[in-house]
């Protein structure tokens, strides 16, 4: 029964279970015991099934370990090795203590998620009570549909895991404030700390080494800001500063970057140089020497700052492209010549789109037959009495003549009863002017009844939504589901709707409150019936 690929973490010999001698094995995902001499395990429990473990108190003669499962069962192991029983049992207990929490989390995570959803959304909670607690649909079905919807439409997990880029100015944004007595306050947020770690992996390394063993976090950051590493004049003073190594690493990194150079054929960095014009044109400038001795103090500090800036930008770009796919860009964010020329996505830098003629988007022509039908809607075809166009002209003329000579006969226009009923219908309070009665209904029916009715609507809406989502039925899974949903709807009607109806009848409310719900359910039933008959016909 033990698979060969299972990793055995601990083997304890001479463990008795139910008065039988045997060996206890602790594996990666389960604990098992097999009697002595036999190959198979008689007892095997997954860590996920174990609720907790118990040990016999220290004073007792028998040294035992008991495992209690979620189902309530318990298994007891008796460590019977004369010399090392206590040690064995403690070793087993320690290992179990480490392993059990790992597996416990997985089982509970789903439950936690469900509980959280129920707590956050009172409507969902009510729905759960109405549908599952009263056994209209089973809990599995409820969660199957809910969790599926939730995973598709829940935006919060995305928000928590958004990847964030590194702002180039993150160090400058720290903006120290003076705190009144010759000190500076630096406000560090989690974002800034993350940016520092991602851009300067050397600092992250130092952090990992020193905190929390040697320094607290606060001390680490205080030292960081105090060190010359952070400030612009990077004069490496001695080795007591923990960041002097970082400075040396940065120097090395910068040198390697310079050696690599830029592989862009359209950019020639070496031919760029500073040319001053104010000392006479045609004066040849001395080529800047690289030896430190000839430079003035100002020049060397400027050079240091420029070097810092270049290094900082290069590190930020490198951190960004390290995170994402670096396939497109070449090393360190610099375009290589091959990627430029081969990639059609980037138009060559020799063309400027602004200077070219504007290209209009290609549009698709509309292909409408009988477009004047849109002006007045579809007209039903009627049989024509006229056969020739002369007939039509004659009839038009006849009608025109009649219209000209029309004399109204007011006594025979409309009967007086018809007229008065039309007037009453259209005056306030009439049949066609009943927009004001919704207030009346809201007041006539007590609010608890309305609240209950709302819950019924929500529950029925949920069930009906699942029902209608099964159509069109084109797979056996949907067929099953639609039949299940129909039985669910019938059960809902019997268990929830009818008692509610009886209740309101007992309260002498004459209005038919459940009529609409019944109509909705009836529509669903008739749809199901139609589908079923069609299915029968297709089979025969």
């Amino acid at each position: 029964m033990a698979s060969l690929s299972e990793e055995v973490l601990l083997v304890v010999k001479k463990v008795r279970q139910r008065k039988q001698d045997g060996t206890l094995y602790l594996m990666a995902e389960r604990i098992a015991w097999g009697p002595e001499g036999k190959d198979r395990f008689t007892v095997s429990h997954l860590y996920a099934d174990i609720r907790c473990q118990k040990i016999s108190p220290d004073g007792k003669a028998k040294i035992q370990l008991q495992l209690i499962l979620h189902t309530g069962e318990s298994t007891t192991f008796h460590f019977s090795n004369e010399s090392s029983a206590l040690k064995d049992r403690d070793a087993a207990k320690e290992l179990l203590q480490q392993l059990l929490p790992k597996f416990k989390k997985k089982a509970n995570k789903e439950l936690e998620e469900k509980n959280r959803m129920l707590q956050e959304d009172p409507v969902l909670f009510q729905l759960y009570k109405d549908l599952v607690v009263s056994q209209v649909i089973s809990a599995d079905e409820f969660w199957a549909n809910r969790l599926g919807d939730m995973n598709n439409s829940d935006p919060t997990p995305y928000n928590n895991k958004q990847d964030v880029g590194i702002s180039g100015a993150f160090l400058a944004d720290i903006r120290p404030q003076t705190d009144g007595c010759n000190g500076l306050r630096y406000n560090l947020t989690a974002d800034i700390i993350e940016s520092i770690f991602r851009t300067y992996p050397a600092v992250k390394q130092k952090y990992g080494e020193n905190v929390p063993h040697n320094l607290t976090e606060k001390e680490f950051w205080t030292r960081f800001f105090q060190s010359h590493y952070f400030h612009r004049d990077r004069i490496n003073t001695g080795t007591q500063d923990i960041f002097s190594e970082c400075a040396k690493q940065d120097e090395k990194g910068l040198k390697s970057m310079v050696v690599q150079g830029v592989k862009n054929p359209l950019v020639d960095l070496l031919s760029l140089e500073d040319k001053t014009l104010d000392e006479g044109y045609g004066v040849s400038t001395t080529t800047p020497s690289t030896s430190n001795a000839n430079r003035t103090v100002k020049e060397s500090s400027n050079a240091a700052i420029i070097k810092r800036f270049n290094h900082h930008s290069a590190m930020v770009l490198a951190a960004g492209s390290r995170k994402g796919q670096a396939a497109q860009m070449g090393t360190r964010g610099i375009l290589t010549s091959s990627s430029l020329l081969l990639n059609p996505f980037f138009s060559l830098a020799i063309e400027y789109e602004d200077l070219q003629r504007e290209n209009r988007l290609k549009t698709v022509a509309l292909n409408l037959k009988k477009s004047d039908r849109y002006a007045h809607g579809p007209v039903p075809l009627q049989s024509q009495h006229y056969t020739t166009s002369q007939d039509i002209i004659n009839s038009v003329n006849h009608i025109r003549h009649e219209m000209v000579n029309y004399k109204p006969n007011l006594t025979q226009v409309l009967s007086s009863t018809a007229a008065s009923s039309a007037i009453t219908a259209l005056s306030p309070g009439g049949v066609l002017m009943m927009t004001g009665t919704q207030q009346a209904i809201n007041q006539m029916i007590p609010t608890e009844v309305q609240g209950e009715l709302k819950h019924l609507y929500a529950a029925a809406g949920e069930l009906l939504r699942h029902f209608w989502s099964c159509f069109p039925v084109n797979s056996p899974f949907l067929e099953e589901k639609v039949m299940k949903m129909k039985t669910n709807l019938e059960r809902f009607q019997m268990t929830k709707l009818c008692p509610f109806q009886e209740k309101i009848q007992r309260q002498y409310l004459s209005t038919n409150l459940t009529g609409h719900l019944e109509e909705m359910l009836q529509t669903a039933y008739s749809k199901f019936h139609v589908w079923q008959t069609r299915r029968m016909l297709r089979k025969t």
Binding site: V164, G324, T363, V364, L366, N442, T511, A524
Partner: protein, 392 residues
Amino acid sequence: MDEEPERAKRWEGGYERTWEVLKEDESGSLKATVEDILFQSKRKRVIENHGQVRLGMMRHLYVLIDCSRSMEDQDLKPNRLASTLKLMEAFVDEYFDQNPISQVGIITTKNKRAEKLTDLAGNPKKHIAALKKAVDTLCVGEPSLYNSLNLAIQTLKHMPGHTSREILIILSSLTTCDPASIYELIKTLKSLKVRVSVIGLSAEVRVCTVLTRETGGSYHVILDESHFRELLMLHVKPPPASSSSECSLIRMGFPQHTIASLTDQGAKPSFSMSHLDNSSGPGLSLEGYFCPQCHAKYTELPVECKVCGLTLVLAPHLARSFHHLFPLQAFTESSVEELQEDRFCQACQGELKDKIIFTCPSCRSVFCVECDLFIHDSLHCCPCCIHSQSTS
């Protein structure tokens, strides 16, 4: 000094009648030319609007609003964010007016992250309420184009192929802080056929130019508030459909409004399915629109039935979008001297003061510049043609 009264006028009414301020400004001739250019482009748009072109009328539009530090700038009064949100409210109203079967969603971005303000929905009230509340948000950090476009794509990629997927970005910052290469994202947008347009509030930014060019959208930078409004309203019109969008038959329900009274025998009060969870909506009522498929009730249309998923619209909603398909043809321009009769505009009955007049090709009535713009932008039909009783 002359500057003092001028400045006061500009602050008070400057953004209503900018050309009046310009009259006193000698060096402002450049501004006048710019105004002229804007006017010409407006006319050009009207002229170009001819021919029957297939349009994407069921639109899913996401508006990305930049809420970074640069939005606190006060060059638009009272500050860029407040001005943008106010114009967005007007935009949302106008959008649903012209595109009743479309949907809009709003995303904001700040502090290198993006957040959904409202989901894609077809009900303008929710969006306007969210926009009103958003005026108090703190503008901090840098925007992230990548994160906000990604967030929009998550929803847009599930939309059916026959609808048009669009994103409109209102970007005021000159930088964007992205976790990965945005050029990859542009390729994804292109493959998903999402059209991205940008309205810049500061200056033209190269990455936005590439973004809009590759996806087929438009990129403009505003000059002032009235120009901003105009650019926003450009996006209200449905864009021409690209040749690759599929076309399919869409199922819609056309419910009728039923009213009943308590005294009727079969009166059944019912709840609207869209108002079940909040207590502020109308309660039990007798009237409403009943879905033809599942008989669920709704009080407002257009809506997607929560029970059976059918789109419910009224015929006037669809008819409202027809003027996009059958646009009014452009009127012919001519000079006012050629007019023999009395010089007054048929629509507003005012005297023709401008040098250019417009004539409707079918009824030959004469309109002034303002009326011509109004007829083409809002009325969509020549007022004299409707009045005439000619049979054709």
